[in-house]
Symmetry: D2
Subunit: 367 residues, 4 copies
């Protein structure tokens, strides 16, 4: 399977951090979609490196070039391929990493899996950089969901390192999600934002890194999407979200917390309002039995601290199988949570779009 | 997709809680596998209902009958179908549930998805009962992994309701995993076991239910399995584990906890011992960049309290779209955590077997 | 992949000729379909053995028992499993075939592929008998296509051995296709039917067998189904039709014949009639660029003579790797063309249904 | 599914005839393969247009640029993307074809399927030009099969228009296949070659086109590959071959001819030679029960005359739904058979490589 995903819409992502280019083929996009390139680029920029001192100084425009599947300002229905050429690569930084496996990085498992043939420069195909084409595809999906289904996705940073924002998003609606989407560092409580950013800079100064938790919200997906068992919405979303590098946990609704509730509290009671079935609580995060129930989908994603740190680390030299020490030079983010956040949204959007196309077919958007 | 799973080995599970039978077709099992039916049945019995007062009184032998793909005591390589006939069904209990949607259950989303045609008796195809054929397939996978790869899987209950067992499994090896596997209620700390069981019985008395967290360990899977991105080991395992009803969260290694570590702590340093690459800590739970690194795979699964409770609940009557009240009769578990535990192990085993067959092909076991 | 098929609707077929049972799981059938069991059984009977002296004397009712996915006379949307128990097996007949590979049969390649573990009795999972559950699934698909899309499928025997029926079906419509469907031995020219049947009986008397060509017609599938390249309608249909044992060739429209036409003749000119786009000729058999153009789909399937013959044959004994001789006892058909014909129709129906569900989604049949 | 193919190795092809570029992503290529770019380019040149007066004057180097998955002269195991930029496009030629549907071309079905949004210039994504990246992937597969498995594929033109070469390839071996592969116009009988080419030029002069039949041979694929039913070798090969534009028929071994044989003739008797099981005849073309038997795989592909002809044709104007006339200007091939031939070989090679990787895993080529 590798780098191909999807039941109906299909993605094939390719490229390496320091190769010639990275990109994506999106297969089975419905025809006739007018892409709002400004919106898409805005999403790309949310993830882009080099924006401020919170992230790596690698500076790339990272705006993709569409080379197929797009004609007269609309998708054609044929595979849409988009490419981002690698501009600001500095491969020299990575040359000593060929033999010394970076802790927390894919270097060693990739060495074994690919029998020493993997492109080790900057993590190669494992680089977080490959999430740029994933986000590009995701931004197209977001745009389609908004325009044709009024589905909106937003996220907030729930914690960075040990700074947690306990506030809850009370009113999950288009406005509140758009507000989050327009923030550079989307947090519910502004004081927490400052504390979190301070921790990131603190980690940077100490040649260290921090992780965090992202909480995501999806509204207006109607009841009835998903499947029992292997294609449950949780199964589909978790498969996708865990493909984002550095993700180590996911939970839906109350998640791990629901395991310490009583059934009488955990069960979301139904009631009828304006001829619609709603639930009073939403402990199940909008998904029951693997299928949407019409309530907002809520999930949290745990992201580990950036494995690239400049501190001296113990490791092994794979060429002589001896213990060694390593100090990673190069440029890296002290924290990737805020850059991963739009990727999570895009990945979720792709999953929802796939679920919708499976259920409703390709003719959703009749001209 | 629905009830079919797998890249190489393929499962198709079928059946409803109160229909004629439930079962599974396992496609692409390697030929020549001598099934240890005693071992398989032992796993099935771990999940079986009616064993003691902790679970539902529904009493079924639940031992599957193999009707294809098995010849002269060995798998043939052709699809292996196994069927479990439903014996102890009491459909009357469920008749009033046709219209009144049980909170926390799939009733309402299934009603919408299947346009009111779903078999609502006992949850139909959504019933936890369908995990019996899943476990049957999983037990075959477990047996194959043990015999041909020395891979072992074990789990412990980490928490029930608010009783948490803080002990850690220090020595993760065949012995310690087998010990857990032989316990009816596998917990590391015996006093905690008593407390947990007391909470289950307490919930039962109060017509309520509780959930919990299962921690699972997999040893001896070598480095190099899995894929970057969409078929990362985390993606594959989470997709599978979330197909088990009532699961609401999963985390690998330190999981959500890793998000509050510094990179310098979170990174698992490599070292060489006996010409093998190992890591000092295992905060990544044996998976880096989506690929196994040879260390034990560790993951935790959050299970919600059984949604079926006998307390009076508010809900809606879907036939007249009015608010209603519901008291679920029938037989149900005050806690499913201990019954879900072997299913989690079986589901994980299937995932690993699929990863291995993808990487190593069908000729793994040459005669 | 093996015995699982489909993009949207999914089949998993299982069973062996002389095992306990054969069957099929049909996944993702739309909910709410009232099955016309009489129609389905009628299709099954068209394929059933033992009807007359043209086919094997093996006599089985072969009517499947639905054990899941069907509730209150309608499909539920959950996997529908149907089982046919093997009643009239006489395994003794096949015991000497364990070592002596039957020419023209799967015995030898199956021996290699499954490393001698395959169920060799009557061809095991390779038996033409496994087309019974395939036809069962196909008959459901046929019924759905007729009821909801007015799509009809019919076939005629174009040749048996060297007897060819040169007549062409001039008016391809519901009537003419139903007429064919109601004939035991569907041929356009009745005198040819007698000649063909005489050749079959002649082969039987001579302990030999014959093959033939089936021509199939599908009407009322609108333009726009299928894909360029790998999921062209020809790709999808041919993949499916070649899964029917003994098929060795397939052609669409004028097929091999079109290769000796000039472009100016081969091209099907368009014209407009009643605001519909039609073509004057139909040399492309209703498919252009892999996609339907609204004209009848026409394809021909070449079926080889039954490999089971009672004549003495040269072969090898696989246990001692020596040349040997073999006389197959058992019961077998002197010709399977007339029994394969409804299976071809059913297989085509499944393919079309899959194409339609992919394009139009699961909500095609709203209640 | 659309433009993605494969179980183990995966292809995603993209691009339009007159867009910016065409290309392919090849996923799951084993790591460590040294590509023989000279060999690959040689295969590309066999298909390339503009070589001589038998084909279109469109002149493009058509040599692909690898932009990922290739490092230090070897495949990395990560997705390999290759791009061919469209150089010699002359879109003006095609502008009047927007409304007037070319007979025999995908224009009309594509118009319906993609709801008028398809790139109509030169057939867009349906263009035979998209077979260039397919052949690129196929040439890599050919090279791998040759190097690691000694599998060779060759083809000859069996007929062009009504000129048939009745000669049979008696000795199917590496030499004879290489001889064919080195011929510009590979035919067994040289006089026939002249006659065939004369017919092509004759068609060209008359503003018409011709088709033909290609016969392909594969040697040294051992017994045991493929599956019963849906993934039979015939199913897999036919699915792939029918994705090549203009293919209308395929047959294996004696194909349609086997339907007029007696079973006693059609059955390929086994015998033992040098401890290998062989068959005397090869009427089944190396495939029995969907699985290879170790004999050469032989299949024939029927290719229709190029639909692009310069003669005046009747058609419809889709914008006003009226009958119209059309004279196609542009550049086109009077015959594509000789250019399709290497594409057929490449497509077959991809299919075999996929079968082998499925059976033998990714570790086939250990470093």
């Amino acid at each position: 399977m590798s780098s191909i995903w999807g039941n109906k819409i299909k993605l094939s992502i390719f490229g390496e951090s320091h190769g010639e280019a990275i990109g994506v083929v999106i297969d089975n996009l419905p025809p006739g979609i007018q892409l709002d390139l400004q919106y898409i680029n805005k999403q790309m920029i949310r993830r882009a490196p080099g924006k401020n001192k919170l992230s790596t100084t690698r500076n790339e425009s990272d705006l993709p070039k569409i080379i197929s599947g797009y004609f007269n300002g609309k998708t054609t229905g044929a595979p849409l391929c988009a490419i981002i050429y690698n501009e600001d690569t500095s491969s020299k930084d990575y040359s000593i990493l060929k033999d010394n496996m970076r802790p927390g990085h894919s270097d060693y498992p990739a060495y074994v899996k690919y029998q020493a043939c993997n492109d080790y420069r900057g993590g190669g195909h494992f680089s977080g950089r490959i999430t740029a084409p994933l986000l590009f595809a995701g931004a197209i999906a977001m745009q389609i969901l908004q325009k044709y289904k009024n589905i909106h996705i937003g996220s907030r940073i729930k914690s960075i390192y040990n700074v947690e924002d306990d506030a809850q998003l009370k009113n999950i609606n288009e406005n509140s999600l758009n507000n989050l989407k327009n923030m550079d560092f989307p947090v519910l409580t502004l004081e927490k934002s400052a504390e979190m950013q301070a921790e990131i800079l603190n980690a940077k100064e100490n040649l260290d890194s921090v992780g965090g938790i992202v909480e995501s919200f999806i509204i207006n997906l109607e009841a009835g999407y998903g499947e029992p068992f292997f294609d449950s919405v949780e199964s589909r979303l978790s498969q996708m979200i865990f493909s984002i590098p550095s993700v180590k946990g996911i939970e839906f609704g109350e998640g791990f917390n629901i395991s310490s509730m009583k059934g009488s509290t955990a069960n979301d009671s139904y009631y009828v309002e304006n001829e619609k079935v709603l639930t009073k609580s939403n402990n199940n995060g909008g998904i029951i039995g693997g299928i949407t129930n019409g309530m907002p989908i809520i999930f949290r994603t745990a992201i580990k601290p950036t494995p690239s740190i400049s501190k001296l680390q113990n490791t092994v030299n794979i060429s002589n199988m001896e213990n060694s020490e390593l100090q990673i030079k190069g440029r890296h983010d002290p924290c990737i949570v805020q850059r991963a956040l739009p990727v999570i949204e895009g990945a979720a959007a792709l999953t929802l779009l796939d679920l919708i196309l499976e259920r409703e077919g390709e003719l959703l958007w009749k001209i």
